[in-house]
């Protein structure tokens, strides 16, 4: 084997081809990587923020559930409180299943999640907190807001974001001043106790293992603004909940696009591999025949060119891995609607393995084809030509 490696190293023209091949691999690798990265970025933002050594993965907000409360009466039993009727529309992901415009929900749908929030508002929004303050004495520090720009925040969020009374918040280019901090543990109690006219929009997180916080905020126009983009301690750039459905559609479109890019890349990769091998053997035919003349067996020659196959394998596996990632990411949405989560996990792992196996199979196929090609080279023919 040492000797064979020596031949490879000696082969300067071969190395030139290798450089070209490495270049192509890098291009393809970058393409695959970028397409996957783009999808991740677009779901939505893919931004990480370190808060008290805890990663908050903003990109995972796509898995949030948004519930729109139209304040109309209906027969929904809400938090066990009879007489409170709401008309809810749910977009996003609930219990790990994607849902769009879901209107029928149960008590369990709603309260199976853990939610903490920043509440910013006035008038009726304040009633919730005022009720809280009155009934449960849940204002820990500071006072209830009296002016439009004054807000309360939960103790949990205050700790996480290191915010305190008299700090300023910028939301939707509006300045707010934190005047009080309430006990977040009481929040849902408050919510249940009051008649909830203030909570016109609601955001919940079904998957509290990924993200514990969902951020609620209310503007003076009573539209929930979801703080996801440019998540900074003192500067928010929220996205309107109403835009979420459209955003989901756009994201799905983006995913489909990037997945198509990845598939095209995969196909192109195979063609590139094949033509590289074919070109290489055509170019090196004379050399291969000289080696055969000197007593190299087809197997030995194949081992020399095994180096190529090795590189192709790396290429295929690398792209395969990224493709699997992308495939999983996209495929999971479809599976979510059809299967239970546990099944999906196994299925996802299976898909990864199958994808990898298919790619390796193709690589071996190309290699085998190459070896066959070598064995068919006629020494005499080449000698005559030279």
């Amino acid at each position: 084997m040492k000797g064979i490696l020596k031949i490879i190293l000696k082969e300067t023209a071969f190395l030139k081809n290798t450089i070209i091949m490495i270049g192509l691999i890098l291009i393809l690798f970058s393409g695959a990587f970028l397409s996957v990265l783009s999808v991740r970025i677009d779901v939505p933002n893919g931004m990480y923020k370190q808060i008290d050594n805890e990663d908050i993965k903003i990109g995972c907000m796509i898995k949030n559930v948004t519930i729109k409360d139209a304040r109309n009466e209906c027969d929904l039993l809400y938090g066990g409180i009879t007489g409170i009727t709401t008309d809810l529309t749910l977009n996003g992901y609930q219990n790990k299943k994607q849902v769009i415009n879901k209107t029928e929900m149960t008590y369990k749908d709603f309260f199976s999640t853990r939610t903490r929030g920043i509440i910013i508002g006035e008038n009726t929004d304040f009633q919730l907190l005022q009720e809280a303050a009155k009934q449960d004495e849940s204002i820990l520090r500071g006072n209830l807001p009296k002016l439009a720009y004054e807000v309360l925040i939960s103790n949990y969020i205050a700790q996480k974001l290191a915010l305190n009374i008299n700090d300023n918040l910028v939301i939707n280019n509006l300045n707010f001043k934190i005047v009080g901090i309430y006990d977040s543990a009481k929040y849902f109690e408050l919510y249940k106790e009051t008649n909830l006219p203030a909570v016109s929009y609601f955001l919940v997180m079904p998957d509290d293992t990924i993200l514990e916080e969902a951020y609620l905020n209310f503007t003076s126009s009573k539209q929930l603004q979801l703080s996801m983009k440019n998540f900074n301690r003192k500067g928010y750039n929220p996205i309107a909940v109403e835009a979420m459905t459209k955003r989901l559609e756009i994201i799905n479109l983006a995913r489909a696009f990037f997945m198509s890019v990845a598939i095209v890349l995969a196909i192109v990769t195979f063609f590139v591999q094949y033509s590289l091998i074919a070109t290489f053997f055509r170019q090196r035919k004379a050399q291969i025949c000289r080696l055969k003349l000197l007593g190299a067996t087809d197997g030995k020659i194949a081992r020399v060119y095994c180096f190529i196959a090795f590189m192709i394998t790396i290429l295929a596996v690398t792209i395969g891995a990224f493709l699997s990632l992308l495939f999983n990411k996209y495929f999971i949405n479809l599976c979510n609607e059809l299967f239970e989560y546990e099944f999906i996990s196994h299925f996802r792992a299976g898909i990864s393995l199958i994808t990898g196996a298919i790619l390796i199979f193709f690589t071996l196929l190309i290699y085998r084809h190459s070896v066959r090609k070598i064995s068919k080279f006629n020494i005499i023919e080449v000698i005559k030509h030279e």
Partner: protein, 225 residues
């Protein structure tokens, strides 16, 4: 010993068969220096290619010592080419980008030999062809005569029993041809069996025996005085 029995080789050019060899019989003893002469197209190179296992016969037997090479697998033939035969061709067939050393070492590498043993063998072979001073030179920077000497060094590096030379002086001037013939003679004196294809009678006269071919057959088997 080389034995050829009723050797035939047919090529198809279009639909018409062309018989390059029409039933050749010959025997070459160990240690002999044999020349195969004939006009262009007489079948002498075809015969050498068949004996050298580079081509497959249409009919007949070729025996190299105890091996009937017309029946052996490609793998075994490759081993025979590597261990038992050294080839010298008119166009040298060196690796142009390799150094002289690398070119001569190739058959050793292919036979699985590596390390300092190779260096000693290569140096010895190059000494024999008087090219020790060019050991680091690239093959494509050498003159024709030098390249042919490198090819001879490469042919003998594995100490093969047989040297098959196809027009070894075909591309060379008189001085270089003389050198090459002297090297072949020296190899013959060292016990190698040499089969040389040539159309040059002067070169052929340096062999012990001359086979003359015409139209795919050996028409004369003459012992040189």
């Amino acid at each position: 010993m080389i034995k050829v029995k009723n050797l035939k080789r047919c090529f198809f050019t279009g639909k018409e068969p062309f018989w390059a060899l029409k039933g050749v019989d010959l025997e070459i003893n160990d240690g002999e220096f044999v020349a195969i002469c004939g006009k262009s197209g007489s079948g002498k190179s075809t015969l050498l290619n068949l004996i050298g296992s580079l081509d497959k016969a249409t009919e007949g037997e070729i025996w190299l010592d105890d091996y009937d090479i017309s029946t052996l697998s490609q793998k075994k033939l490759a081993i025979i080419r590597n261990k038992m035969i050294g080839f010298v061709f008119q166009s040298f067939y060196l690796e142009p980008g390799y150094t002289v050393y690398d070119n001569v070492e190739l058959p050793l590498i292919l036979s699985g030999s590596t390390g300092s043993v190779n260096r000693k063998k290569v140096e010895k072979a190059l000494e024999l062809v008087n090219l020790s001073n060019k050991i680091k030179a690239k093959a494509n920077t050498l003159s024709g005569g030098e390249q042919q000497r490198v090819a001879i060094a490469r042919a003998i590096i594995n100490d093969p029993k047989y040297i098959f030379a196809d027009e070894p002086c075909g591309n060379l001037d008189n001085v270089n041809s003389e050198n090459i013939m002297n090297i072949l003679k020296k190899l013959h004196e060292n016990g190698k069996t040499i089969v040389m294809v040539t159309h040059d009678l002067e070169d052929a006269k340096k062999a012990e025996r001359i086979f003359t071919m015409s139209d795919g057959l050996i028409i004369n088997n003459e012992v040189n005085q």
